[in-house]
Structures are given as structure tokens and as C-alpha cells.
Amino acid sequence: MDKAMTKDELAAVAAAAGLPRLSDKHLEQLQASVAAADELSRRLPKDFDWTDELALTFRLRAPAGERP
């Protein structure tokens, strides 16, 4: 993904992300973001599997007081 994308390709990426109003200048920034995201993805460890739990776990609390 490091190669430069065309303006149309970037506009399609923006639209897919819900950003229909980005100007040419913003699309240039999006190009830099694509490169940054790609680099960060490469730097992530790759040894996770299904046993690795997330840091955020959904929790419920029991209601206060006695219940029948």
C-alpha cells in the first residue's frame, strides 16, 4: 500500500470511510494516513491467536438489592 494512490482511488477510500467532502489537499493527507496505517500494521506483533483476550472486556453489573 506504500505506492502513491490516484486521486480517484483516494476518493473511493474516503467515501468508504464515510468522508465524502474531502478536498484535494485532504486527500493528500489521506495518502499519508494510508502509509502511516500500513507502517503501524507492520510494526504490530503477529503472534496473537484466539486465546489472546482484548484489553477491553464487556462487563455487566448485577442489579443492586435482592431479586426474587
Binding site: 478536498s23 494516513s33 503501524l40 484489553a55
Partner: protein, 464 residues
């Protein structure tokens, strides 16, 4: 005036309570100082003098009638402008929210009001606590009073600058990837990122919900503990708030460090990153001072900084984009260039990478807490470098990732940045102390011992 300008909370509280200092005179003196200095340093983006004088008059009346509420009563403070104060704009330093009036108080604002504090106004921040220093926003960026025209750190930049300038004795900031501790380090003051969940984030504009913290900023360790005592507590309306017993952050402050076990995380600033030589020397000297005070200081190893950095950056960018997508979709031009660039990163990251970053967070937290098992507190760098010039965009961008604060946003542990000396050029150097979750009192205890053994707190920015 210098006397009142650099008065701390604890000293002011004593004088206010005994009636030798009037809350109104104190507030008027600081308002006058802010009016004179803010043109140069831009710490405040909004002053609220009428609000301040009314609160000061009320405090004066109550204290005279024997209704002293505590150490914040009649003491001026200000808020980073992402924190709501009912009836005032919360702008996040952005054109996007320039007309956004807060409907109610943030939790921390409620606590400060109840404590009788005197609200002076709203402080500069990097746009949405992520984009700065920027010169394309409705207000200029805050400027560090240390050095000629230097970067004060961020994103709680106005909070750091206002304290360093002697404009107030107390301010609040927020810290998602280090934003309380960075300006504390660059401005030569004390800033604490509390344990995640200790201070409610209700009414604080989020940057990345799972990493956001609100923290106290002051000029001394004792003042910091006093301020945390006021703002800490369980808030059922903040889903991240921790329902834990309240701590006493002052009781053990003077107990010293004799017999404490301090882990020195040296590889962060000598291997993972190579800090500025004067910063390394300051940290090694701090370790030696703590040894001389009776602590057992031993090196420990945590995961490489790189792992915490990639974890934090992915989580911040993804969560920030989710928050900002409606505005980016409709008003992308109303962002400054820096904030837009950083937030856009999250638009193109994959869900799988975000999930893996959360898995990495769980792994790093487990490993870090395991490494803390044999110590009371850890000591390491906050910044790797002293401040650069604020108008040198390349230097600001280069310094931005050269830090060791993000690990403790990942793990949620309490982490405090404080002065650790000065460069030959007179710029502040800093250190960072990290504790076990909810053991802020232990962090303060070590910080107080170091502060008392060193002269750094006494120094003022040139000309102030």
C-alpha cells in the same frame, strides 16, 4: 506580585484560612498578571474575570464566617479547554466548536466548585488534544516561558505555561498519550496522570475513550496531591470510573524513601531511545539521590518502548476517528492541518489491527504489572529531550514520539512527571515516577522526597 504569582496551593490555603490573604485580592492580582503576560505566552484562550471575582467574594465571605471548605477554598485555578464548565464555551481550541456552550459541568468542575475554588478561565490545548503546536487555529499556541520562543509540550500546553508563568497555582489537563506529563516536563512543573478510572472523565471531550485520563498540574508535589484529593472519586456516570475506596494522598507524603524499592527503567532512554546526554545525566543523578535518601534502586526491564508506542498510536487514532467522523464528514476544512492529519490516520486502519492493538495492550499490561511485583515505584524518563523552538515544525515533529509516557497510558498506572534539573541553556529537564494501580500516594511519597532534596522547584523562568 511575584510573591502571590508563585504562591502554591498549600501556602495560599494557610494564608486564606487565617485571613492574612484575601481571596479577592489574590484573584485580582492573578487576573492582572494574566492580562499582562498572556499576550506573550497565550496560556489562556478565555478569561472569566466576572466569574472569578464572584467566586472569590463568596469564598471571602464564607471563610470570614468560619465556613472554610478546605485547601482549595478561595484558590484560583483554570481548566484545559476540553473540560466543561456550564455556561462557558468548550472549544477544544478548534474552529469546529467555537460556539459550543457547555450545558453542564464536568465531574471535575463540580468537585472544584464544591471545594470553593476560583475559576479563572479556559486554557490553550492542542486542537482536540491531538493537533499541535498549530498556527492555523482560532487562537495561537501557548508558548513556553523557559527559553526564547520554545514549545511547551502538549496537549495540555496552556496548563503548563500558566503554571510556569505564575498565572495560577493549579490547573487541570488531560492525558491520553502523555499530555499532562509532556507540558509538565517541558515547563518545569509537576503533572500527574492518575490511575485510569480514578478521576471521572464525564464532561471532558474525549480523544480516545479507553486511554483518556484527567490529571492535576501544579508547581509542587504537595499541591498536586491536594488537587488530586479534590478531583478523585467514583462517578457512576463514567463507565471507566473505578469504584474503589478513596485514597489519602497527603498522609504519607513526608515518610521518605528509606527502604523503598525503586525500579530504574534505564533501557527506555539509553537503548530503546537515546535521550539527550543532559537528560540521561539528570536521570542517573536522580537515581543516585534516591539511593542516598535510603531507597534501594535497581534496574528493571519492561517491554521495548516501540511496543507500547505502536499499541497507543493505533488505539488513539482509531478511537479518535470514531469520535470525529461526523465532523470530518461534514466540516473537514474546519480542522487545523495537524489534527486532521492525525485523526485521518484512523480512517484507514483496519478493525483487525485495532483488535490486535487491544490484545497487545492486555499483554503489555500483564507483563508490566508482573515486572512491578518486586518494586514500589519505577523511575524513568518522561521526555528524551528538552524543549525545541515552537516555530521549528520539524523539530517539534521529531521530538513528539521521543518520550516514555505512553507505556502508562497503555497500562493505566499512575505516572507523575516533575523537574529533574536544567540544561546548560536553562531549559527544564524532567523525570517520571510510576506506581502500582491506585497507589498514587506512594508515587507522591517518592516525588516529595526527591523534590525536597533538590533545588529545582525554586527556579523561575527568566524575567518572571
Amino acid at each position: 506580585m511575584t510573591d502571590l504569582a508563585f504562591l502554591g496551593i498549600a501556602e495560599a490555603a494557610a494564608r486564606l484560612r487565617e485571613g492574612t490573604l484575601s481571596p479577592v485580592s489574590y484573584t485580582e492580582a492573578l487576573l492582572e498578571r494574566i492580562s499582562s503576560l498572556n499576550r506573550r505566552y497565550h496560556a489562556f484562550i478565555r478569561l472569566t474575570p466576572e466569574l472569578a471575582i464572584a467566586a472569590a467574594r463568596q469564598a471571602e465571605r464564607e471563610i470570614k464566617e468560619g465556613e472554610w471548605r478546605g485547601p482549595l477554598h478561595g484558590v484560583p485555578f483554570a481548566l484545559k479547554d476540553i473540560i466543561d464548565w456550564a455556561g462557558l464555551p468548550t472549544t477544544a481550541h478548534s474552529k469546529l466548536l467555537i460556539d459550543h456552550i457547555a450545558a453542564s459541568d464536568a465531574w471535575v468542575s463540580q468537585r472544584l466548585k464544591a471545594a470553593g475554588g476560583v475559576m479563572l478561565g479556559k486554557l490553550a490545548t492542542h486542537e482536540f488534544a491531538i493537533g499541535g503546536p498549530s498556527f492555523d487555529l482560532p487562537w495561537p499556541p501557548a508558548v513556553n516561558p523557559w527559553g526564547g520562543n520554545h514549545f511547551p509540550g502538549g496537549s495540555s500546553s496552556g496548563s503548563g505555561v500558566a503554571l510556569a508563568c505564575g498565572m495560577l497555582p493549579a490547573a487541570l489537563g488531560s492525558d491520553t498519550g502523555g499530555s499532562v506529563r509532556n507540558p509538565a516536563s517541558m515547563c518545569g512543573i509537576v503533572g500527574l496522570k492518575p490511575t485510569y478510572g480514578l478521576v471521572s472523565r464525564r464532561g471532558v471531550l474525549p480523544l480516545a475513550n479507553s486511554l483518556d485520563h484527567v490529571g492535576p498540574m501544579t508547581r509542587s508535589v504537595r499541591d498536586n496531591a491536594l488537587l488530586l484529593q479534590v478531583i478523585a472519586g467514583y462517578d457512576g456516570a463514567d463507565p471507566g470510573s473505578a469504584d474503589v475506596p478513596g485514597g489519602d494522598y497527603l498522609a504519607g507524603l513526608e515518610r521518605g524513601v528509606k527502604g523503598l524499592r525503586i525500579g530504574l527503567v534505564r533501557h527506555f532512554y539509553t537503548e530503546d531511545l537515546q535521550a539527550h546526554p543532559e537528560q540521561i545525566a539528570a536521570l542517573d543523578q536522580a537515581a543516585e539521590i534516591l539511593r542516598q535518601l535510603g531507597a534501594d534502586v535497581q534496574e528493571i526491564r519492561l517491554a521495548p518502548l516501540e511496543q507500547y508506542a505502536v499499541c497507543t498510536r493505533i488505539i488513539i487514532r482509531c478511537e479518535a476517528f470514531a469520535i470525529h467522523r461526523p465532523w470530518l464528514a461534514t466540516r473537514p476544512d474546519d480542522y487545523g492541518d495537524l489534527a486532521r492529519q492525525r485523526i485521518l490516520d484512523g480512517a484507514v486502519m483496519s478493525a483487525a489491527d485495532y483488535i490486535d492493538a487491544l490484545r497487545l495492550r492486555a499483554r503489555l499490561t500483564r507483563q508490566t504489572l508482573d515486572a512491578f511485583a518486586g518494586i514500589d515505584v519505577a523511575l524513568t524518563a518522561s521526555n528524551m529531550d528538552p524543549a525545541c523552538r515552537i516555530d521549528d515544525a520539524e523539530a517539534c515533529a521529531r521530538l513528539y514520539p521521543r518520550q516514555a509516557r505512553q507505556p502508562f497510558n497503555v497500562t493505566g498506572q499512575p505516572a507523575l512527571a516533575m523537574p529533574a534539573g536544567f540544561t546548560e541553556d536553562g531549559l527544564p529537564l524532567s523525570l517520571q515516577l510510576i506506581g502500582h494501580p491506585f497507589q498514587e500516594a506512594m508515587v507522591y511519597r517518592v516525588a516529595q522526597a526527591y523534590e525536597a532534596a533538590t533545588p529545582w522547584r525554586e527556579r523561575r523562568p527568566p524575567g518572571l
